[in-house]
């Protein structure tokens, strides 16, 4: 089943004479349970694409559908509610509220719904156990490591059972060990709980955890790789190859 569908997505920044077309006619489809990576040179529009798909930003032209809901047709209020109920977010800089404990941060998405307290407790316990952060629930963000922060952020994104999770360079600020741990966790959750994930990254290792990788260049999808039955090492090499083809035109990674 196709969970996300984008048609002729166009995004222009700036006004009048000083405009910049960041996304140019992008078509994209994501199936339920996919783990999609988005790669591309810096400034190629990865974040912009993720933001418009995730309803954080508006497209200039085109159409985006998630779970058969047309994002462009929804009002601000409705869109916020939709985001809260159907989507999850993980950002490079964690985006945790530092006046709240880990547990309080994770509970946030459940706080407005009609989730009974006992169910919420169980959900938090399950997801934090899965991510290996069940021991730090009462700590504040400034008392835990970057890897733990990002796993907290991931737990918060996943706790409400979203249809799709968007992650923008989630490993960008992590050392390689923490990064691998997080990615393994995401991979596991994607496989076991069939959660659809879209992840922007410029790290080929991170991308090799995905089931499909899109390459963005100058606001267009340049190419696309499927992992298929390949193992991670093989997929990694394929990604590296594609990247080096791209880098002929000044790839900066």
């Amino acid at each position: 089943m196709i969970i996300l569908r984008g048609r002729k997505i166009k995004k222009v920044f700036g006004k009048k004479t000083n405009t910049q077309e960041v996304l140019k006619d992008i078509d994209i489809e994501v199936r339920e349970g996919e783990f999609v990576g988005i790669m591309g040179p810096s400034g190629s529009g990865k974040t912009t694409l993720l933001n418009v798909l995730a309803s954080i930003d508006k497209v200039t032209e085109g159409m985006i559908e998630i779970n058969n809901f047309n994002l462009q047709k929804m009002k601000e209020q409705k869109l916020a509610q939709f985001r809260r109920e159907q989507l999850g977010f993980v950002f490079q800089d964690y985006n945790l509220l530092d006046t709240l404990t880990v547990k309080e941060n994770i509970y946030l998405p459940l706080s407005v719904g009609k989730v009974p307290k006992t169910v919420a407790e169980k959900k938090i316990k399950d997801i934090t156990t899965l991510l290996g952060i069940e021991d730090i629930l009462n700590k504040y963000p400034n008392e835990i490591s970057g890897g733990q922060k990002q796993r907290t952020s991931a737990a918060r994104a996943l706790v409400g059972n979203p249809s799709i999770v968007f992650a923008d360079e989630p490993t960008g600020a992590l050392d390689s060990k923490s990064a691998t741990a997080l990615l393994s966790n995401l991979e596991k959750i994607n496989k076991e709980k069939k959660v659809t994930i879209m992840m922007v990254t410029h790290d080929p290792v991170a991308a090799s955890f995905c089931s499909r990788v899109l390459f963005l260049k100058d606001g267009q999808i340049y190419s696309e790789l499927y992992k298929g039955e390949k193992d991670r090492k093989q997929f990694y090499r394929e990604i590296m190859n594609t990247q080096s083809v791209l880098s002929g035109d000044g790839y900066d990674a």
Partner: protein, 662 residues
């Protein structure tokens, strides 16, 4: 380098316009207020027209108070201004600008801003001082015209004060730049939070002590008036008591903010076991984490609010009581004494002024009020219950108390006002003993009331007993008692008052009348209630005006500080709003939490301030007037409304920040 420096200053000024406008507002406001007040102070016409010999002293004292507000406000605004710009200043240093240069840059910028503010403030102050004079004359209901020329003296004084203040600010800034490391400059806005983790028993005790302090301070304030009756009281003792009350309430307030609030909020938070709603997140946890840094300013705001309210209420009590006090002292529109001022009656007839005439016999009778005392009331040792009371016959007062029915041995007390009540507490349904030449008569008192219906002639501000006509005749013929015939005149048409006053002015008479003791004489004259009222207004008018002026200055300063503080808080929390909005919380949901926080930040200091001022006013209001409840409620309501404006403004600012946080 000079060229680059100038460019830098200009560019940074333009870029930081938002931060500047607050600071500049605070500066202009302060200069305006100060200049307009000093203009009044240095205007000879003011001291001549208004009040009495104390006028100049009062004005001077008030100008120091105002100076205090201004200094406090400007320094606080500068502190906030610098906090908000710490990133920018850090950046200058990051790009390699030496500290000395940065300091110079900020100094130049400050000098430009201050000079601008002084010029604008003086200009505005000149205009507002006229408005203030108009208000002042309106308060004391005077038609005088006060010439206000541009005062060089006031200008000089304002310029000196503000240049000195500017130097302090520059020095402060320089020191701050010198002391602070680059890293902390860049991160100031981030580290404002305190992580409340464990509450130890010690903090819990301190939180509790805060409440006890306030309670004890309140209790002491209620005993202040009784203290005045203590014969062993010395000024020192009184001062110590006052300082004790102040220390207890101010200290207690700080403890409450610093420890109790965070303690209680943390308990509420703990009880949620990590499952907090967004509204909780934005109110409970933010307030709790900020308590350490905001305890001081919230305490200051509370105390300032309480002071402002106290001053305003007391002043308003005098103003409000002017009518009642005039009514009390001169119970008819015009009061005349036997054989004096009867010309006035003819003149009124000639001018066609409509009036009703009431003739009264006022007797001075010795009485013992001991049997009338309230049972629980412990009389001070040296207070005698043997007093001169006025006695009036029921028929003479029929027009004011038409339903009064008294038996031969019954009496009805009027004029038992709050001041009398402070010394001697009386209750009805008990007898009073009149001392006559044939012995003592017991008269049963049916009621004790506050209104003063009879002019106080024989005793100042003490009770008058109304008795039956029959018994009055007995007292009247007793040689012990002295009688004074009085004529009270009541105008029939309110709008003839002005004309009547003119007639009165031309026919004023006064006579020397011996006191009942015969040892001295007093001058009594034909009295006009209106003139008496204007007299009160005139003598209290200046105090009322100054209190109002200072009160407004305090209010705007505290309100602005709260508003500035909320603005920076909003800016600092923008990141959190962004996260929440990305997660799918709507502006309205976030605003719900913010409004709760606002309710606390504005409401809590207000509530405690109101409570403090209530006890302060309660402790001393009897010296200011005769009415408590109405002026208190009116002042508090107006204060709450004006204060709310700042809460609404800052809520508006929050909404803008949340809407733009994405």
């Amino acid at each position: 380098m000079a060229m680059t420096l100038n460019q830098l200053v200009l560019r940074s000024m333009r870029k930081n316009a938002k931060n500047y406008y607050l600071y500049v507002f605070a500066l202009i406001f302060s200069v305006t207020l100060y200049y307009s007040f000093v203009t009044l102070q240095y205007n000879p016409a003011i001291t001549k027209e208004i009040g009495n010999g104390m006028t100049a002293t009062i004005l001077k004292a008030a100008s120091y108070l105002l100076l205090f507000i201004v200094i406090f406000f400007v320094l606080y605004a500068n502190k906030l201004f610098m906090n908000r710009r710490s990133k920018e200043i850090g950046l200058y240093q990051l790009v390699g600008m030496p500290k000395g240069l940065v300091t110079r840059l900020i100094a130049i910028e400050n000098i430009i801003l201050w000079l601008g503010a002084i010029i604008l403030g003086v200009f505005m102050g000149f205009i507002t001082s006229r408005i203030f004079v108009m208000i002042l004359l309106k308060i004391i209901e005077k038609d005088a015209f006060v010439e206000l020329s541009f005062s060089i003296e006031a200008l000089l004084r304002t310029v000196i004060v503000f240049l000195l203040l500017l130097m302090v600010v520059i020095l402060q800034t320089a020191m701050r730049i010198r002391r602070v490391s680059l890293l902390s400059l860049i991160t100031t806005t981030v580290v404002a939070d305190e992580k409340v983790k464990k509450f130890n028993a010690f903090q819990m005790i301190l939180g509790f002590i805060g409440l006890v302090f306030i309670g004890y301070g309140y209790y002491l304030s209620t005993t202040l008036l009784d203290l005045l009756d203590d014969p062993t009281l010395t000024p020192d003792k009184m001062l110590i008591q006052l300082l004790l009350i102040l220390t207890l309430t101010i200290g207690g307030t700080y403890f409450v903010f610093r420890f109790s609030v965070a303690l209680i909020l943390n308990m509420v938070r703990k009880s949620k076991k990590g499952l907090m709603s967004v509204a909780d997140v934005l109110s409970l946890s933010t307030i709790m984490h900020r308590m350490k840094s905001s305890a001081m300013s919230l305490t200051t705001i509370t105390i300032l609010s309480a002071t402002t309210l106290g001053i305003l209420t007391l002043a308003y009590i005098s103003y409000y009581s002017a009518d009642a006090m005039a009514q009390d002292s001169v119970s008819y529109d015009y009061v005349m004494y036997e054989d004096t001022g009867f010309d006035l009656i003819d003149e009124f007839d000639k001018e066609g002024i409509q009036y009703t005439r009431h003739d009264l016999d006022l007797l001075a009778v010795q009485a013992d009020v001991r049997p009338l005392l309230l049972k629980e009331f412990a009389l001070k040792k040296d207070v005698s219950t043997l007093l001169t009371v006025q006695v009036v016959s029921q028929k003479d007062i029929q027009n004011k108390l038409p339903n009064l029915q008294l038996k031969e041995d019954e009496g009805y007390i009027v004029g038992y006002d709050s001041l009398s009540a402070e010394n001697i507490r009386l209750e009805s349904e008990k007898p009073i003993q009149f001392i006559t030449s044939t012995g003592t008569d017991e008269i049963f008192i049916t009621e004790v009331t506050e209104e003063s219906l009879v002019p106080n002639y024989h005793n100042y501000n003490f009770i008058t007993v109304i008795v039956s006509d029959f018994y009055f005749q007995k007292l009247l013929h007793d040689p012990l008692n002295e009688n004074q015939k009085i004529v009270g005149m009541e105008l029939k048409e309110e709008d003839q008052l002005k004309k009547a006053e003119e007639v009165f002015e031309e026919n004023k008479v006064s006579v020397e009348i011996p006191y009942p003791s015969g040892l001295a004489t007093k001058t009594v004259s034909v009295e006009s209630q209106e003139i008496y009222r204007l007299d009160i207004l005139n003598s209290f008018g200046l105090t009322i005006f100054i209190s109002g002026f200072l009160g407004l200055a305090f209010l705007i300063a505290t309100g602005s500080i709260l508003y500035f503080k909320q603005m920076s808080e909003a800016d600092e929390e923008k990141g959190a709003y962004t996260i929440l909005r990305k997660m799918g919380f709507t502006t309205n949901e976030i605003m719900k939490g913010i409004r709760r926080k606002q309710l606390f930040n504005f409401g809590f200091p207000l509530l405690i301030g109101l409570s403090h001022s209530y006890f302060a006013v309660k402790a001393g209001w009897v010296f200011f007037g005769t009415e408590l409840v109405a002026p208190l409620l009116i002042t508090m309501s107006i204060y709450i409304i004006l204060y709310s404006i700042f809460a609404i403004l800052s809520a508006g600012y929050y909404r803008k920040v949340v809407e733009n946080a994405f």
